[in-house]
Amino acid sequence: MLEYLLLLAFALFSIGIAGVLASRHFVVIVLAVEIIIVSSSLAAMSLYSYTSTGAILPLLFVIWAIAAVDVIALVVFYRYLAKFKVSMDVTKLNRLRD
């Protein structure tokens, strides 16, 4: 059962990495990073639940803190880009140099 949960976490992780590589939208790239965070949380949680290793719990709290900070940074950058009417396509972000 633990192996299948780890395989599920690996599948989510690979979907997130492939989404970061294959997407062009700024918001969707950050949301793919959120999928990676969900997968790491799932892996840590399944290891904790099946082996009762208490040392995994601080890792979970660090993962949640990273998830919260990630979305706050996304919202700040999104409002910045929307204010100056820059496209959400990350291949066109060099307009910011002008």
Binding site: M1, L2, E3, L7, A18, G19, W64, A67, V71
Partner: protein, 162 residues
């Protein structure tokens, strides 16, 4: 229990793939919050109700509501943003590499023997804080917060247009 977790696994993979298929930012945010919710449900079915509640409150209550109010209320953008063939090829390649590493390095067998030797993993700490009613109340409160944030988006759009 195994059947429930298998169904939840299928749902979480479908939800995470829908993020790259849908075109509206609002629909993408709803799909991501569905992924968070199903992740919390998997925590709950792994006999860790307190951590499931923390995950639910942080992810749904904080992240999704902030995402709705900050991003999805501002504007919509419609363009095809994901190369589906590259997504499929990269995802399958990375997953195959990681799964091969898990089984070929003997980590899976080591984890299996570890779980077999540790017979107390089902013994859980159920305090009065994590009774069933508290967990159900937390899920209800979080769902209400989620729906309120979802319903506030047309109002916010009206306010920002005028």
């Amino acid at each position: 229990m195994v059947v429930i977790i298998a169904v939840l696994a299928a749902l979480i993979i479908i939800g995470s793939l829908l993020i790259f298929v849908l075109k509206d930012v609002l629909h993408v945010a709803v799909s991501l919050s569905a992924v968070f919710f199903i992740n919390s449900l998997i925590f709950l079915f792994l006999n860790q109700p307190l951590l499931a509640a923390i995950q639910l409150l942080i992810m749904i209550g904080g992240v999704s509501v902030y995402l709705f109010v900050g991003v999805a209320a501002a504007s919509y953008s419609h363009f095809r943003y994901t190369n589906y063939a590259a997504l499929a090829v990269a995802a399958i390649a990375i997953f195959a590499t990681m799964a091969y590493g898990l089984y070929a390095s003997g980590t899976a067998a080591a984890l299996h023997s570890l779980v077999q030797s540790n017979q107390f993993y089902t013994a859980q700490i159920v305090s009065s804080l994590t009774s069933e009613y508290t967990i159900m109340a937390l899920y209800a409160i979080t769902t209400m917060l989620f729906l309120i944030a979802l319903a506030a988006i047309p109002l916010l759009k009206e306010l920002t247009v005028k």
